[in-house]
């Protein structure tokens, strides 16, 4: 949960962020061959580890352990024909990755969507209502943004133990809701502060209650910020290892991250299974990320640049 200066402003189209110049749009300095080579090499370096993992995950055991994955490209005729989906079937069924995938969904969905409404109500009060201690309370939340969630583990383990909640889904749902709350309030409050005050005032004059104003005006207007938080929270919960290790641990309820970390230690697992398991872990967030990238980037940049 570390996105301190994340405000979300949706109405700043990317093209307009470049300040106008006498020469019009774009950076007048153009890339030379050195720049292009540097960036190309960097991008290739960035992708090669992923490609290697992906290719290996489709190679049969003997191929994967006896020759490098690049052989698929250097000796295509010997290798291409052997590629198989078998590793995925085995990882999914025998190594518990399938069960873990469902568990991850079961953990992530509630932990992503439930905090949104709770945070939105709080953000509304912090933005549009006057109450005693408001500013101090909000500063407290800003400060808590950077507190590592490690603080919760030892005491909560004990409390959960007394309640018999260790190893259950509600234990992690509640934990993620608690850990994500300060960021959610922060993002939403900063976004709501940019909404035109006149809209709220005219609603008040028309006799709308706070409850109505919240549901009819503010919530619909805040959709970009809500979505931005939802994406952060989804990626964070899906990709989390430590919270799941502490409160759920290996076993029937383990999410994909715990299952993948477990594949490392279990004896006799070859690279063909580990790589397939790795892809089962990363595929969903990567799809969500690529599909929502513009949204994600816009939410992340607009606020931080302000600072």
């Amino acid at each position: 949960m570390t996105f301190p200066a994340t405000t979300v402003i949706d109405d700043t189209p990317k093209a307009a962020t470049r300040a106008p110049s006498a020469r019009g749009e774009g950076n007048p300095a153009k890339a030379g061959w050195l720049t292009k080579t540097f960036l190309t090499v960097l991008c290739v370096l960035w992708m090669v580890p992923i490609i290697g993992t992906l290719v290996t995950s489709f190679r049969p055991l003997d191929d994967a352990n006896n020759s490098g994955w690049w052989q698929v490209f250097t000796h295509p005729f010997d290798n291409l024909g052997n590629l198989t989906f078998d590793n995925y079937t085995r990882a999914w069924e025998n190594s518990n990755m399938g069960q873990a995938f469902i568990n991850s969904l079961a953990i992530t969905l509630p932990a992503t969507f439930i905090p949104i409404l709770i945070a939105a109500f709080a953000a509304y009060a912090f933005t549009f209502m006057e109450f005693w201690g408001r500013d101090v309370l909000f500063l407290g939340i800003v400060g808590l943004l950077v507190v590592p969630n490690y603080v919760a583990f030892v005491p909560m383990l004990k409390i959960y133990g007394n309640l018999g909640m260790n190893g259950t889904f509600p234990a992690v749902w509640l934990a993620h809701i608690g850990f994500g709350m300060s960021l959610a309030i922060y993002i939403l409050r900063n976004y709501m502060a940019t909404l035109p005050k006149t809209v709220i005032e005219s609603a008040k004059i028309d006799g709308a209650s706070h409850f109505q104003t919240f549901f009819r005006l503010i919530l619909p207007m805040s959709v970009p910020a809500l979505a931005s938080f939802a994406i952060f929270q989804f990626l964070w919960v899906w990709n989390d290892l430590l919270v799941a290790l502490v409160f759920i641990g290996p076993g029937a309820n383990e999410p994909v991250t715990v299952a993948l970390a477990g594949l490392r230690t279990s004896v006799g697992q070859g690279w063909e299974l580990t790589t397939a398991g790795g892809f089962i872990v990363i595929i969903l967030p990567v799809i969500v990320f690529l599909a929502m990238q513009r949204f994600f980037v816009r939410g992340m940049t607009a606020g931080a640049v302000k600072g």
């Binding site: 292009k36 990626l235 290892l241 990320f289």
Partner: protein, 327 residues
């Protein structure tokens, strides 16, 4: 299996439904009060559930953690500062502290420098080239650190000498006729720690690049043009015109990465489990909690982290107040 997925969906519906009913009830309750009280109570009702979540999962446990750090392994008897004394005299812990400091020193700075370099250079490409290169660098951010660690463990993999090398680095060495190296065990000069840092950099540089890229694009071209007309070199324009104007974003990126680095756990846990002198505080915490079952030591490690984070917290609050004052 399908049952669990269904449970998750039902939980989402029930959770949101329950929250709706709760707020509706609280709102009605407030409206039944006299007008003067309604105005006072309503905001508190709106804020209460969220604040409660934060208190239960951050504030209260933080206090308990401080208390537990002065108690024994099962948090029953008071032991004074024994946990801290044991920790700070323990060689393994000193190693973990040193390595964490090394991470703190290297990763955030490297992340900013690399991110800024890529952002500045990609800005000069055509729109398609820029988009493609940025997506490529940004993509690993979506990948969990467990996934990243698995991917990179494969790159660093060393098969025994004589067997075919399927790890990329050792295969490359083999091309030059060199013997394979067990990369993650090379602890001289903390070389293996740096190899682990590369994984975090690979994952986080995209974040840094995206924020800095937006900042670089926000620098008015006029200021750069003016410098150019005055005869400034590209290098001078970058360091004297661009960098000062994006200082705020640089600090934001630095701090964000810094907080992540302090808590780094997944990469070390998956790749070396802290062996070969690569241990860090996050992994040591997990070892104390799960292997040694020592709540006292685990809590003391968290307190060390909390103290380390206080300066950042103060900066964060001050920064926020300054920004609010400007708005």
């Amino acid at each position: 299996m399908a049952g669990k997925a269904l449970t998750a969906l039902i939980t989402v519906v029930i959770g949101i439904g329950a929250a709706l009913i709760l707020y509706y009830a609280l709102n009605k309750l407030a409206e039944m009060l006299p007008d003067k009280w309604e105005e006072r109570v309503k905001p508190i009702f709106y804020v209460l559930p969220a604040v409660l979540a934060i208190v239960v999962y951050l504030v209260y446990p933080a206090i308990l953690t401080v208390i537990n750090s002065f108690k024994d392994r099962s948090s029953t008897e008071w032991v004074g500062t024994e946990n801290y004394q044991t920790l700070f005299t323990d060689k393994g812990f000193q190693e973990a502290v040193f390595n964490t400091l090394l991470w703190i020193l290297v990763v955030p700075a490297a992340c900013v420098v690399l991110g800024l370099a890529i952002a500045t250079l990609a800005d000069r490409l055509g729109p398609n080239g820029e988009k493609l290169s940025k997506t490529t660098i940004f993509l690993p951010m979506a990948i969990s650190l467990v996934g990243a660690a698995t991917i990179w463990r494969f790159v660093y993999y060393a098969a025994p000498a004589g067997q075919p090398q399927i790890g990329l680095l050792n295969a490359a060495l083999g091309q030059f006729g060199m013997d394979p190296v067990a990369w993650l065990q090379q602890s001289q000069y903390h070389f293996n720690s740096f190899l682990l840092m590369i994984v975090l950099l690979w994952s986080q540089v995209g974040f840094s690049m995206v924020l800095l890229s937006a900042a670089v694009k926000g620098v008015p071209v006029d200021t750069m043009e003016a410098a150019r007309i005055d005869g400034a070199s590209e290098r001078q324009i970058f360091f004297r015109v661009v960098v000062p104007q994006i200082k705020g974003t640089i600090i934001t990126v630095y701090i964000t990465v810094l907080i992540g680095v302090m808590k780094v756990f997944d990469i070390v846990y998956v790749m070396t489990n802290g062996n070969f002198n690569t241990n860090v505080l996050g992994n040591e915490f997990w070892n104390q909690l799960s292997t040694n079952f020592n709540n006292g030591s685990a809590a003391a490690i968290v307190v060390v982290l909390m103290i380390a984070v206080i300066p950042i917290m103060i900066y964060q609050v001050r920064h926020f107040r300054a920004e609010e004052a400007n708005a």
